[in-house]
Symmetry: C2
Subunit: 244 residues, 2 copies
C-alpha cells in the first residue's frame, strides 16, 4: 500500500470547510469523490487542517493510502480533471507508511487579509474582511509582540475546540500594508480552534484604537475568551503552508 501526500489549494467560498460532513459539500468530500471516480474505490483522505466554511488554503496538505502504481504526476493531472476549478491539487508525492498529514505537522502559517478602503471592494468580497476603515499598523505590530512566544491561549480559543492543551507557540506575527489591504501573517507550531481569527479581531481592535497595544498582554493573562475581541470573518483567512 502506498501513502501519498497531496498538496492542495482551494478557494473556500463555496464550501462548508475542509472536513467531511453529512449532506454538505466540503473540500474533503470533493477530493474523496474525485479519488473514487478515478480509482473506483472509497479512499479516505487525512487532512492536516480543518478549515472552516469560507476559509481558503494557498497550500494545505493531506494524505491517503493507495493500492495502485499510477505515477504521482498523473495523480495530480487526473485529480485536477475531476475537481472543480476552485480546488487544485498542486503536488503528489510518495511518503513513508507512517506519515500522517495532521499528526506529523510541526507548524503552520496563515495570512489574514483586511480591506481598509472606504467602500467594499468587489474583488475582495470573498477574500478579505471588508472593514472599510483605516488601521494603525504600528500599534498592531506593537501588540503582536505580546502574542509572539509560548502562551496558554485560552483567551483566543473558541468554545467549540477540542484540543487537550491551550499551550501553543507563535513564532512569527507581523502586520503589513499594501495599498488598501492589511495583511496579518502568523506562523506557529499549531493553532487552537478559531485562534487566528480571534487574534485578527483583537489586532483590529488595537488598530482602531479601541484597545491599547499593551492590553493584549492582559487579554492573554486573563485566559478568558470573553476578554478578546470578536472572531474575524472567515473569508479573510488563508492557510498558507503546513510544515513538516
Amino acid at each position: 500500500m502506498r501513502n501519498i501526500k497531496l498538496t492542495v489549494s482551494y478557494d473556500g467560498s463555496n464550501y462548508f470547510g475542509f472536513q467531511i460532513q453529512p449532506d454538505k459539500i466540503t473540500i474533503q468530500s470533493q477530493i474523496q469523490k474525485a479519488l473514487k471516480s478515478l480509482f473506483k474505490e472509497d479512499i479516505k483522505i487525512f487532512g492536516s487542517s480543518r478549515t472552516d466554511a469560507k476559509v481558503h488554503a494557498q497550500r494545505t496538505v493531506c494524505n491517503f493510502h493507495l493500492d495502485n502504481k499510477i505515477d504521482c504526476k498523473n495523480i495530480v493531472r487526473a485529480l485536477n480533471t475531476k475537481l472543480n476549478p476552485d480546488i487544485r491539487v498542486l503536488e503528489a508525492v510518495d511518503v513513508r507508511d507512517e506519515f500522517h498529514s495532521r499528526i506529523h505537522s510541526v507548524g503552520k502559517s496563515y495570512r489574514y487579509r483586511i480591506y481598509t478602503g472606504e467602500i467594499m471592494s468587489v474583488f475582495e468580497r470573498n477574500y478579505a474582511w471588508n472593514l472599510c476603515r483605516d488601521l494603525d499598523i504600528e500599534k498592531m505590530n506593537e501588540a503582536c509582540k505580546y502574542i509572539i512566544g509560548t502562551h496558554e491561549f485560552d483567551s483566543f480559543k473558541a468554545a467549540k475546540g477540542s484540543a487537550k492543551t491551550s499551550r501553543r507557540t507563535v513564532y512569527e506575527l507581523k502586520v503589513s500594508k499594501d495599498k488598501d489591504i492589511v495583511y496579518i501573517d502568523i506562523r506557529g507550531n499549531g493553532f487552537l480552534y478559531n485562534m487566528v481569527r480571534i487574534i485578527a479581531g483583537t489586532l483590529v481592535d488595537v488598530g482602531t484604537s479601541k484597545f491599547k497595544p499593551s492590553y493584549v498582554k492582559d487579554i492573554i493573562d486573563a485566559k478568558d475568551r470573553t476578554k478578546a475581541s470578536k472572531t474575524a470573518p472567515a473569508c479573510g483567512l488563508f492557510l498558507m503552508e503546513v510544515y513538516y
Copy 2:
C-alpha cells in the same frame, strides 16, 4: 433635471456584460433595477463602456438623469444597499446637462492579467487567463512598440464591432510581471470591439515565441483580423479607468 455621473466597480464573473439585454442579468440591468427600487421610476443609465460577459471594471463611468434632490453621498449609500456585493457604486457627482459618459470620454485604460504558474490558480480562475506557461516579457514589450501610436486597427477588431472608423491611438502599452502574474496595461483614446483582448492574445503569441516581435507590425499593416491571434479570454480583462 439633474445629470448624475456614477463611478462604478464590478466583478463581471456572474454577468452577461454591461449592456442591458432581454432575459439576461447585466450590470446595466442591475443598476437600473436598483435605481427603480430607490426612486420608484424607470431611469435609464448611459454607460461609457459595453464590457463583455465576464469582463471586470475597476472604475467605469455611467450617467443618468434624476428629478430628485437627494444628496450625492446618499445616492452612493442607497444604491450600494440595493446592489449585490459584486457591483459597487464608488462615487456620484452632479455634472452639466450635456454630459454623456460615452460621447464625452477622451480615453480609457485597461489591464489584462495572465497567470503563468504551472497549475491553474484557484484564486485567479475568474480574474486571469490561466495560461499556465511562462512568457518572455522583454519580447512582448518589444512588440508593444509597434502597437503604440495611431493606426487603423482592423486586424484587432472583432467582426461584430460597429465603429465607423478603425483609427485609434494607443498612448501607452506595457507588459510587466509580478510573481506568477503578467500584466498588460494599455491606455488609448478608444478601443474597437475586442481590441484589447485581441492585442493580449497577439502579445501572448509573441511571449511564447510563436511570433517574432516585429511580426506585429506586419499584422497591423495587413488590416486583416485573421492575421492577429485569437481573442484572449474575457475573465482576464479589467476596465481600469475612463478619462474625460
